[in-house]
Symmetry: D2
Subunit: 334 residues, 4 copies
Amino acid sequence: MIKIGVIGYGYWGPNIVRNLNGIEDVEVVLLSDTNPDALKRVKKTYPNITTTTDYRDITTSSEIDAVAVITPVFTHFELVKNALENGKHVFVEKPFTSTVKEAEELIELAEIKNLKIMVDHTFLFTGAVRKIKELIDDNVLGDLYYYDSVRVNLGLFQYDINVIWDLAPHDLSVMDYVLKDEPAAIVATGVDHFGRDLENIAYVTVYFDNNMIAHFNVNWLSPVKMRTTLIGGEKKMLVWNDLEADEKIKIYNKGVKIDTKEGLYNLLVDYRSGDMLSPKVAHTEALKVELEYFVDCVINNKIPFNDGQAGLRIVKMLEASSNSLKNDGKLINL
Amino acid sequence: MIKIGVIGYGYWGPNIVRNLNGIEDVEVVLLSDTNPDALKRVKKTYPNITTTTDYRDITTSSEIDAVAVITPVFTHFELVKNALENGKHVFVEKPFTSTVKEAEELIELAEIKNLKIMVDHTFLFTGAVRKIKELIDDNVLGDLYYYDSVRVNLGLFQYDINVIWDLAPHDLSVMDYVLKDEPAAIVATGVDHFGRDLENIAYVTVYFDNNMIAHFNVNWLSPVKMRTTLIGGEKKMLVWNDLEADEKIKIYNKGVKIDTKEGLYNLLVDYRSGDMLSPKVAHTEALKVELEYFVDCVINNKIPFNDGQAGLRIVKMLEASSNSLKNDGKLINL
Amino acid sequence: MIKIGVIGYGYWGPNIVRNLNGIEDVEVVLLSDTNPDALKRVKKTYPNITTTTDYRDITTSSEIDAVAVITPVFTHFELVKNALENGKHVFVEKPFTSTVKEAEELIELAEIKNLKIMVDHTFLFTGAVRKIKELIDDNVLGDLYYYDSVRVNLGLFQYDINVIWDLAPHDLSVMDYVLKDEPAAIVATGVDHFGRDLENIAYVTVYFDNNMIAHFNVNWLSPVKMRTTLIGGEKKMLVWNDLEADEKIKIYNKGVKIDTKEGLYNLLVDYRSGDMLSPKVAHTEALKVELEYFVDCVINNKIPFNDGQAGLRIVKMLEASSNSLKNDGKLINL
Amino acid sequence: MIKIGVIGYGYWGPNIVRNLNGIEDVEVVLLSDTNPDALKRVKKTYPNITTTTDYRDITTSSEIDAVAVITPVFTHFELVKNALENGKHVFVEKPFTSTVKEAEELIELAEIKNLKIMVDHTFLFTGAVRKIKELIDDNVLGDLYYYDSVRVNLGLFQYDINVIWDLAPHDLSVMDYVLKDEPAAIVATGVDHFGRDLENIAYVTVYFDNNMIAHFNVNWLSPVKMRTTLIGGEKKMLVWNDLEADEKIKIYNKGVKIDTKEGLYNLLVDYRSGDMLSPKVAHTEALKVELEYFVDCVINNKIPFNDGQAGLRIVKMLEASSNSLKNDGKLINL
C-alpha cells in the first residue's frame, strides 16, 4: 500500500484521482488546489480525501509516499523540486518542465535522493502505441523513412504555452518511445493569430542523422479533429488513426525500390503494393495502466521507462522548437 | 477554328489531345515526341494527326496557331521560347519554368510578340476550387488564418525534379488563385532517401504579411493517398477533400473568440460550433474547361488569369523552397 | 425530492443509478438484484444505498415513490404490476413487456391507480433524434417515402429474446416518435444459427397506409458495427449515422420528380441534387435528460410522451414481427 | 478473328463497343439501334462500324459470328432467339430474360444449335468478386451464416422494370457465383411511390436449406450511394465495400461460439475478435476481362460459367421476388 497526494484538480486531475482510486494498493489521502471550487468537487465525489489549498501540506506530509503533480507546466519545477526535497516520489504531468535546465536539475535531485520521477506520457500506455513499438522492434517496417503526425482540433487554447508545448508532447513522446534513433536537429514554423505571442498553429520538422525525417502538424484552429500518424519504412508503412474505433493501426505492404544506375532519363522505380493488415489492439485504459506501473515502480524500486530522462528528451525538442520559431525557422541542433 | 500542335505525349499528353480533340473550334494537326512508341499510340487513336520526332516541325509550321508544351519542366524554356519566337500562342504544362529568370524572359517575349501564355494549372478549373474562390471572394470565411494542404501518395517519382516541384504546384496555384494576399517568405524542410539529391518528402511553410500562414505537406512515400486542404477563417472554416466523390467541400461554422484583456490566468476563449454545409460542386472535367478557355483567350484576344504571370508567381515560391531546403530551412523572403 | 428504488443492476442498471444519483431532486434509497455480486458492486460505489435480493422490499417500501425496473423483459410484467399495485410510479426498461396483452393490462392498472409509467426509450432523448423530429415536424423533408435502418454488430447475444426484440426497439421507438403515421402491417424474415430458436439475424418491413415503407436490419453476427438510418422524403433526404462523432445527421437536398404522362418509353425523371447540410446536434447525455424528465413527470403530474402507450405501440410491432417470422414471412396486419 | 454485331447503343452499349474494339481478335462490324441519335454517336467515334436501325440486319448477316444484345430486358427473348435461330453466339445484357420460361427456351435452343450464351454479369469479372470466390472456395470464412447486400443510390429509374430487376441481378449473380449452396425460398417486400406499379424500393430475403440467409436492400431513392456486402462465416467475416478505392475487401477474424448446454440463464457466448486483413485486389476493368472471356469461349468452344444456366438461376430468383411482392411477402419456394 502506498499513499499518494495529488496537486492540482483542473482538467486532467479528476482522471488521475479516479484511476489512482481504482488501484488496490493505493490510497489518495490528500489533494491540493488553489481553487476552492475544485476542492468542493473533490469532496463531493471522494468524501474520504482530505483537501487543502496549500500544496506544501502534501509535500511535507509524513504519511505520503508519492506526489502526483497535475498542474500547468510553469509550476512543475517548483512543485516537483519541493516534493523531491521532501523525499516523495513524483508523477508529473507532461511536458516535464519549461526548460531543459529545470529538467536536468530535477533528474539530478531525484538521483541523489534515490526517488522516482515518472512523466505522464499517457499515450505510451495505449494498445496502439504498444503495438507500434512492437512492430518497429520486430523490424516489421524495416529501416524507417519518416514519421509524420497531424494533431489538430478546435482549441483548447492554453494561456501559458503555445500549441507545440500543448499538443506535440504526445507525439514527440510516442516518437521517442518507438524509434531507436535520436533526433539531430529541429526546424519549426508557426504563427500566433491573437496577439498573445503564443503560436496557435505550428509545424515542426525533426531531422535524424540517418536520413529519417519527422514532422508534426499541431493546430488549435482546425474545424475537424485529426489524430493521424504515418510511419514509412522500407519494408512496410503504417497509418495510426487514433480516432478510429476499431482499426486504429493499418500496416500497408507498400514500398518503393529505385534503381538509380540507369541514368537520368531512365529512372526505374518499382512500386510494391500488397495486402493491408489491421492488427488487433488492446482496449485498456492507458492512464490506468500507467498509474499501476507508477505504483509498481515505486513499490518495487524499478526505473520507469518514462522517467525524468524521457521527459527531458521531449523538453529538449520543445525548447529547440521554441528557439527555431524565435529565429525564423533556423535549424537548431540538438 | 484554330490549329494546334502538341509537343509531348507522355503521361499527361494523351489527356490534352483527347480534350483538345473534343473542342468544336480546334484541330490538332501536328504532334511531336522523341519517343517513337508514343507516336505509334497517337496514330492508333488519332489517325488524322500528323506526327514527328522534331518539335521544330511544330513551332515553325505556318498553319499552326498555338502550341501545347506537355514535356518535363527542364525543357519548357527552350520549347516555349522557340514557339513564341515563331509567333505561336503557348499552353504549357505546370510548373511554368525551372527558374524565375526563365519565366520572366518568356513573359517579356510573349508581351513583345503579343502572344498568349497559359500555364496548365488544371485545378483552377475544377468545380471545387471555383467554389472555394467564390466563398472567399464573398467573404464567407472572413479574414483568413491559414491554408494547410496535404498531398501525399506512393510515387510517381520524377527523375528530374523533387517532390515539391512535382506536387506542390497544384496547391500553390490554388492558393495563389483563391487568396488575395501575396506570400512574403518561405521555409522548406525535406529529405531525399534514395541518394538522388531530389527530396521525396518535403514540408513548405509560406508566411504572409498579415499573419496568414500556409503549409504544404508533399510526400511520394505515403501508403495512403491524401488530398486534403484546410482553410481556416475568422467566420468559417473549410475542408476540401478532393478524394470525396460527392462532398468535396465542407464549410464549418466554427470559430474562436479570445478575450485577452482578462490577464494571464483568466484566458477567456469562446468556441463557436454550428452547422456544417457541403455545397454542391460542379462535376465538369477541369481540363476540358481549361482548354476551351485557352482557345477562347487565343481567338478573342483575352488575357488568361492563369497566364505567365500566374505561372511565375508559382515558380517564385518553388525556387524559394529550393533555396530554403539548400540552406537548412532558412527563411527565404519573396 | 422523490425517493426511488431500483430493481436490477446488470448491464444497464449502473447507468440508471449513476444518472439518478446525479439528479438534485432524487434519492436512490434501495436497490435489489438476485445476484449478490451485483449488490457488492453497488455497495462499493454507493455506500449509502441499501441493497436487497428481494424486489418486494422495494415495491412495498412506504418511503419509495417510484421504481425503476431494469431487468430482462420476461420479468417486466410481474415486477411492474407489483410496483403499480403498491402505488409506485414506474420507469421500465425497453421493451415494455413480452406481449401486447401484458402491456395493455399494465396501462389499465396505472390509469386506475393514477400512476405514471415511463418506458426507457433512451434514444428519444438524444440530440440527433430530437433534431430529426424537429425536421419532420417542420416538414423540411416533405412527405416521407421510407425509413430504413441498419443496427448490426457482434453480439451481445441475449438468452431470452431474439435480435428483433433486443435491437429493434431502439429504431422502432425512434420511428414511432418522429413519424406521424401509424404502421399498418409487418413482414419479418430471419434465422437462428445456433439451435436456440431465437433469431440472431432478422429483417423487418413495416408497411404504412400512405405508401410509406420502413425496414429494419438487425444482426448480432456483423463484424462491423453500424448504426445508420436513412429517411427519404419528397423534399429532402436524411442520413443519421449515430457512430459519427460530429456529423451525425446529414440532410441532402436531393430528390426525384417523375413525369409519367409521356408514355412507356419516355419516362421523364428529373433528379435534383443540391447542397448537403449537417446541422449542429446537442451533445447531452440522453439517459440523464430522460431520467430528469421522468422525475419531472412524477413530481408535476405530467404524462410522459414515452409512456405505457408508447411502449405498447412498440410491443405491438415486435409481437407482429414474431408472428410473421413464425409464419414464413406472412404479412401481419397491425 | 471473330466478327461481332451489337444491338443497342443506350447507356451500357458504348462500354461494350469500346471494350470489344480493344480486343485484338475482334471486329465490331455492325451496330443497330432504333434511335438515330445513338447511331450518329457511334459513327462519330467509330467511323468504321456500319449502323442500322433494324436488328435483323445483324442477326441475319452472314459475316457475323456473334451478337451482343444490350437492350432492355423485355426485348431480350425476341432478340436472342432471333440471333440463335440465325446461328449466332450471344452475349446478352443482364437480367437474361423477363421470365424463367423464356430463359429455358433460349437455353434449349442454344443447345440444339450448339451455340454459346453468355449473360453479362460483369461483377463476376472484378478483382473483388474473384477474391471473394477464392476466399470461400478455400474455406477461409468457414461455414457461411449470411450474405447481406445493400445497393442503393438516387435513380436511375427504369421505365420497364422495378428496382429489384434493375439492381439486384448484380448481387444475386455474385451470390450465385461465390456460394456453393442453392437458394430454397424467397420473401420480398417493397413499394412504388410514383403510381407506376414498379417498386422503387425493395427488400429481398433468400432462404437456404442449410440455415444460410441472404438479404438484398435495393433502393432508387437513396441520397447516398452504397455498395456494401457483408458475408458472415463461422471462421471469418467479410465486408466488401465496392466504393472504397483501395480497401474493397476486409476480412475480419471475428466470430462467436455459443455454449447452449448451460441452461437458460447461463448463456455462454465466446466472442472472438482478432486482426483484420484487406487483401490486395486486382484493378483490371471487369468488362474487358469478361468480353475477352466471351471471345475465348466462342473461339475455343468453351462453356462460360456465366452461361444461360447462370442467367436462368438469377431470373428464377427475380421471378420469385415478383411473385412474393404480388402476394404480400408470401414465401415463394424455388
